[in-house]
Subunit: 517 residues, 2 copies
């Protein structure tokens, strides 16, 4: 997640408040979205049919190819995979097996960490459990002492029973609090906290390189999750020039805990494991799926309204809520507009991003290539032409409102746009607050109006975000339907508005913080 | 679960109310249980160290051997594995691997169903998804049409987000309701419901035998659970003379759902799987772990107070809450009594049962061999000598009271015994209600006072009971401590009481219903 400081918001001109929404168009959008919804079909193509969608992997390519074709079939123009530059290596799992063989047999839940090498056949051996908290601990395991071993890094696990539900819907009280909260900037962390975070990261990197410098036969860790859910990510760099790390698995914390307790009480644990992985490094560049509904007003059709979500996912499941959900909603939104026969004045452009999970790469590079560079604030001509960008990337939960991202300008407009949906948005909410970790930030960083909707927190942090169980089952189809209708309306309204969406003051040039997600 | 009709309760004689509890003994019990608790160590031996404990499997044997030795080491007498008769085959998993290989690779969460054969190497092939709801459907798949295939039986899955917490503690209101509820008998089901249940079972058996009559290469089903949790049980009979069924896996419903959706939309799914299993059928008999603290009162030492829980578990995890928890509590309770140096008047006997999961076999046969036969109501001399049996088998949740099992006689006694624990039992509750599905029923069936405690519902039905994630992490050690102290007190009080615990009227002879768990 990139953290950005937001300058004071500008007030928007009052005349914008006057324009009424096109009720007939809204009615068509609703009818199409509610009665002829295709969210199930779209979501199934993106999840079940495409599979895990790590950027540059075959799964991502399947999803991108299908999306381009589908958008074309719905009559969108200029549908294509638009290259944005070098991402790095694609990668996928071809085999994953992990089990304890002594003191008794037990199959374990796990998966290779992204961009790690395979084991080259079955690896068998006793496990060494290590717990490196400081430099002293680190010394014990340096100098090749772990070479050839199967090594489990001990992790603390949350073993509390779940007295709080995994899924929530925001209450009125939650939303009131959100309404009254202010945009935050770097201030998420105090300088002391930032210092500590940097220190911790430096130490982690040191541990990591100490580990990698030895020829460990298999690295294991069970860092987070419970009840068969586990969280996963990368075990090495995806950069084109990075060396390939040895085999490593993320696994269920319960199974890591079993190994740890046995070994620490003096009972040897023997594992057998096999992983096979394929790197796709012949073509390191990648692209975003882009398509358009051409504007119909000669004076406004060069102006653009964008909507999007990221198409890439992690590799241990089919990335249903992160973020097939967002892509489904955005694709359904443009399908609705097409099927409803609406002719937007401005051009509507959908973008399904790649490389989001590794640092919003797809959207950042798209913005840089299209609108200008936030590091130098050298702007390109298209910067003037974008009205707004709308994003969905907080899971499957329905829309409850919108984050203004510190941009008070459009508040009254959005209030007017949310009002007709009071029957399907309980307690519609507009907050000045910003929210991070996803692609609207790439626009916001260049002073372009980029918005993420407020969504109910349906199991996102507890069960689905970067886990092995982020599957089609997690999608709440009624919520996806609602989101598509609301987004279609927002996008259409933006396309029809007399003016572009008001902007914040342009940010000052600033270098990247290196704290990319 | 065996369902039994309970006759009207008898009132207990008033003089029993008069005896005060021994406060000094209670203080010793509390001090030992709270300050020197061994629940962690016991639980770890039974779960992590022993492993899954299917009856007659090596894991069960490890747990039984350790328990006998540990009970001896604590100074209990007559500690042994007491044979009760023929259970059937032991069985364990030696290899478990399941993955999708087309349309893309994905490792699946699953485990062989108990008492199924291994695959004999890696099985690869396309999956056939079947959905048999009626005789018509069944015909489609009869006559060897599934021979040699990998067959997934379609299941409905609960895909709702979890808006209710997995774990609860009973509220005062919940307990009030329980207090006021009455014992139920066969009346759980109306005759019509019973008829429907029998019909459904007959059809299921027919489907089962149709499947088994063909040489299916691998059977799969994902019946219940979510987020990586799945429920498991047997795929064949454990009886000594039963034929061995072909390979079959229980798997995560999400992964079964993925296969089902792909196949139903015309996309072929190819799997690879391997299972290896071992049957232990040289010795079909098995036993319960039994040990005693000898009574110290010459007139009362022939009378017995029993406490127990079942030591066996299912095979996909280490059976922590079902029911290492109960065994841990009962072992800790007798350890506390020993360590506290208490000399009970009556003999206290602990029993850790086998074969509970397949129909309370260990406790039923123990009762039959020791106290008499509920089918004929021919009683043995020891029937007169048992004061009461206390059971724990509802997971890791702390004691909130006790089910009288329709026996109002001891209500006032138990009220007096619960009273000193008001600081560690919130809203202590006594309900006339019966509760089923576990070993106190074997005693109750013979008119012997058999009690199960009311326990908080910590993730038992949602996450742990018969699942792949019933591991050591699920145990709430503070709750186990509390339970051990309360049970130790109940058992000691029972041993010291002037009279035996009042009984219900003797039930009438009745044949088994065939509805065993």
């Amino acid at each position: 997640m990139k953290r950005i400081y937001y300058p004071l918001m500008l007030l928007c001109p009052g005349f914008l408040f006057a324009q009424d929404v096109d009720q007939a168009a809204l009615a068509k959008i609703r009818k199409e979205g509610m009665e002829n919804s295709k969210v199930k079909e779209i979501a199934m193509q993106l999840t079940d049919v495409s599979g895990p969608r790590l950027t540059n992997s075959p799964g991502f390519q399947r999803a991108a190819d299908w999306s381009v074709k589908q958008l074309k079939d719905w009559g969108l123009k200029n549908a294509k995979l638009e290259e944005w530059g070098e991402f790095g290596k694609g990668w996928q799992v071809e085999k994953s097996y992990l089990a304890m063989t002594k003191p008794y047999y037990m199959p374990f839940i796990g998966i290779p960490k992204a961009w790690t090498a395979g084991t080259g056949g079955v690896v068998k051996g006793e496990v060494v459990v290590i717990d490196i908290q400081n430099e002293e601990d680190l010394k014990k395991y340096a100098n090749g002492k772990l070479a050839g071993k199967i090594v489990l890094t001990k992790s603390a696990m949350d073993t509390d029973p779940t007295f709080k539900a995994d899924a929530i819907r925001y209450t009125e009280e939650d939303l009131e609090k959100m309404t009254n909260s202010q945009p935050f900037g770097q201030g998420n962390f105090t300088p002391e906290q930032m210092e500590r975070l940097r220190g911790a990261r430096t130490f982690r990197n040191k541990v990591d390189s100490t580990m990698k410098s030895q020829k460990i036969s298999l690295e294991l860790s069970g860092r987070a999750g419970k009840h068969g859910t586990f969280f996963t990510s990368g075990g090495s760099s995806y950069r084109g020039d990075s060396p390939i790390a040895g085999p490593a698995f993320d696994m269920a914390p319960e199974h890591a805990g079993l190994i740890t307790r046995l070994v620490e009480s003096g009972i040897p644990v023997t594992l057998e494991a096999e992983s096979a992985t394929t790197f796709y490094d012949k073509k390191l560049t990648t692209g975003n799926v882009i398509a358009e509904i051409s504007g119909s007003d000669p004076k406004l059709k060069d102006e653009i309204v964008m909507l999007g979500g990221h198409l890439d996912s992690w590799h241990s499941a089919t990335g249903a809520t992160d973020n097939a959900a967002g892509c489904t909603v955005m694709m359904e939104a443009v399908r609705i507009l097409q099927a409803a026969g609406l002719k937007p004045k401005r051009t509507i452009r959908i973008a399904l991003w790649s490389g989001e999970e590794q640092g919003l790469h797809g959207s950042r590079n798209y913005v840089k290539n299209t609108f200008g560079d936030p590091q130098t604030m050298k702007l390109l001509p298209a910067h003037e032409k974008l009205s707004a960008y709308y994003n969905i990337d907080n899971g499957t939960g329905r829309i409850r409102g919108i984050y203004l991202q510190g941009n008070e300008g459009p508040r009254a407009i959005f209030e007017k746009w949310l009002a007709p949906f009071s029957d399907i948005i309980d307690h519609p909410t507009i907050t000045s607050r910003n929210t991070g970790g996803t692609d609207h930030q790439s626009f916001d960083a260049l002073g372009l109006p980029g918005f993420q909707f407020i969504q109910d927190g349906i199991e996102y942090n507890t069960r689905t975000h970067h886990t092995n169980v982020d599957t089609y089952e997690r999608l709440v189809m009624d919520d996806l339907k609602q989101m598509a209708v609301v987004v279609a309306a927002f996008v259409y309204n933006t396309a029809q508005l007399d003016q572009k969406i008001p902007r914040k003051e342009l940010p000052k040039p600033r270098p990247a913080t290196g704290m990319g997600r």
